[in-house]
């Protein structure tokens, strides 16, 4: 991990309160990033905000020195981020955490289940899986039609189901409803989203091996402060999400 200054290349709103930010970084750095890893972002200089914000990597294009993040304006920090303009510098710790261990896995069909702002890391994951020759099915849940982003990007990579909580687009309900209704075969599943969703997935797909990506409020983002812990399976010790995760085997953590 290192500290690096990225230059904002482009920033655009892609859904309700949701922004895509393309960052210029040395390609040597961009190339290292694994799907599921995040960057730990300093949202402003000065002292008003003492904590960085973790944001997943949604895409990388090493040939163009580009790294893409997608974030939703949630509180003050993400609101500050949304105000960045091209040529501004952004202070990152990069790369943070461990990604999905797809290099070690033998698989031919992957199921990706994402909810809301958990969708971005699955995009980069899907790209990497497809590049490996893996068949990808994506089930993506959003609150309403206005929140949807990256539908086409996923459709280009594999079968994609969109579900909205209020039924304003696609099926109505939760990602788990889609999993109930459709008969999706897969060797492994990969999921990222709000904890209740992950819990439901962990339960529903208990017979499949899978990986989930977790969120927790972070201090250091590098494993030094013990802020972001999650109990291991027998609750005898804690993983640190920032360092041991954010991706975990679904069977090794208790949500």
């Amino acid at each position: 991990m290192e500290q690096a200054y990225a230059t904002v290349h482009q920033i655009q709103q892609i859904a309700k309160a949701t922004y895509q930010m393309d960052l210029l970084l040395p390609s040597t750095l961009v190339k290292q990033i694994k799907p599921g890893q995040f960057v730990h972002v300093r949202v402003s200089s000065g002292t008003e905000h003492m904590l960085r914000r973790p944001i997943s990597v949604a895409d990388v294009q090493p040939a163009h020195n580009l790294l893409t993040i997608i974030f939703k304006v949630f509180g003050e920090g993400t609101a500050q981020l949304a105000a960045y303009k091209p040529t501004d510098q952004l202070d990152l710790l990069i790369p943070s955490g461990n990604g999905y261990p797809i290099e070690q896995l033998e698989l031919s069909h992957a199921l990706l289940v994402g909810g809301g702002i958990g969708v971005p890391p699955l995009h980069y994951l899907a790209k990497q899986l497809v590049a490996k020759g893996v068949n990808v099915t994506a089930v993506l849940g959003f609150q309403t039609a206005d929140d949807i982003f990256y539908q086409q990007a996923f459709e280009q990579l594999g079968t994609t189901y969109i579900v909205t909580n209020d039924g304003s687009y696609g099926a109505k309900g939760f990602v788990t409803d889609v999993l109930n209704q459709e008969d999706i075969t897969c060797d492994y599943y990969f999921s990222c989203g709000p904890t209740p969703m992950l819990k439901a997935i962990q339960h529903q797909l208990a017979d499949k091996p899978g990986y989930i990506s977790l969120e927790e409020r972070m201090g250091c983002g590098i494993g030094a402060c013990y802020a972001c812990v999650i109990p291991n399976k027998d609750q005898s010790s804690h993983f640190k999400i920032c360092q041991d995760g954010p991706v975990f085997s679904a069977s090794e953590v208790v949500l």
């Binding site: 300093r42 008003e48 003492m50 904590l51 927790e216 409020r217 590098i222 494993g223 030094a224 812990v229």
Partner: protein, 301 residues
């Protein structure tokens, strides 16, 4: 320009060190720079046995500060000695071990265990952790109890003991004098102030522990005031901390009466902060007319 400072048990090449709990046992930050550069390291609190700490969320951001309620998660003193300290011994770096506990016996036992290691230069006696249910903070708010735990820990320690004071008290001077009389070799101040943030969406305290310790630049004026007052009332040295983010902050702590300065929260914002402060200190001291760190200590009085 000499940056060196001599304190009981600590021969510091410079007065900058990471504060306990904000730097774990050094490994993570050693990715960023050579830890030998540091004046010292204050490692994460040790308790007798492994502790898992509090439920999450454990941290919350506040204006120019943060709240934490880690709850002393640590692998236990023996694991620290066996699994964490060896990594640190590769650096030229005095190790200050932070000792916590729920009972006086636990404080004694942790100290006794640490006395079995040759690699600890000093003990920081944490009688001020606001984030555990029993023990911790009472020891830091009642002069008689603070004195008692200091005496008992001194009796079993083979290295100098710096008592870490809680700012959550009516009269910090009274506590400082009590632990000085009980044999403390130095003081470390301040620990965090007890605070709370309420999550408006969930309509309940944001931290699982409800309250947490407030740290960061927000509390610097309180730290400076307390160090200034205590410096006038005791004759043991003070390691100062609370909200340091800049080299001017470091000098402000020295002027207030601190002999060395620890940096906590700022590491999260800028992992290079300790290294950068060390690089900047000599020039900035010269700018204010000082020839050495020692010359600046207490010069604000």
């Amino acid at each position: 320009m000499s940056l060196a400072v001599q304190l009981p048990g600590l021969s510091l090449k410079n007065p900058i060190m990471p504060a306990s709990g904000c730097f774990s046992f050094g490994k993570e930050y050693s990715q960023f720079y050579d830890l030998s550069k540091l004046g010292a390291i204050m490692i994460k609190a040790a308790t007798e046995h492994k502790r898992l700490g509090n439920a999450t969320p454990r941290v919350a951001e506040t204006k120019s500060g943060m709240l934490n309620a880690i709850g002393l998660q640590n692998p236990g003193v023996d694991a620290i000695i066996n699994q964490e300290i060896p990594f640190l011994t590769q650096f030229d770096l005095p190790i200050i071990a932070n000792v916590a506990g729920s009972t006086i016996e636990e404080y004694e036992n942790v100290t006794t265990a640490l006395a079995g290691s040759d690699d600890i230069a000093a003990i920081e006696l944490n009688i001020s952790c606001p984030n555990v249910k029993e023990g911790g903070v009472q020891f830091g708010t009642q002069p008689a109890l603070a004195a008692e735990v200091t005496r008992r820990v001194k009796a079993v320690s083979n290295v100098p003991v710096y008592v870490k004071l809680s700012p959550n008290v009516t009269d910090i001077v009274e506590i400082a004098q009590a632990v000085e009389q009980a044999g403390a070799d130095g003081l470390s101040m301040i620990n965090t102030l007890t605070g709370m943030k309420i999550d408006l969406k969930r309509q309940q305290p944001l931290l699982a522990n409800q309250v947490g310790g407030l740290s960061g630049p927000a509390i610097k004026p309180i730290a400076i005031r307390m160090i200034y007052q205590v410096y006038q009332a005791v004759s043991i040295p003070i390691i100062g901390m609370g909200g340091v983010t800049s080299v001017d902050d470091v000098i402000e702590f020295l002027l207030a009466g601190a002999s060395a300065v620890a940096v906590g929260t700022a590491n999260f914002q800028n992992p290079f902060i300790c290294s950068e402060l060390i690089d900047q200190l000599a020039d900035r001291l010269a700018h204010y007319g000082f020839d050495s760190v020692e010359q600046a200590i207490g010069k604000g009085h």
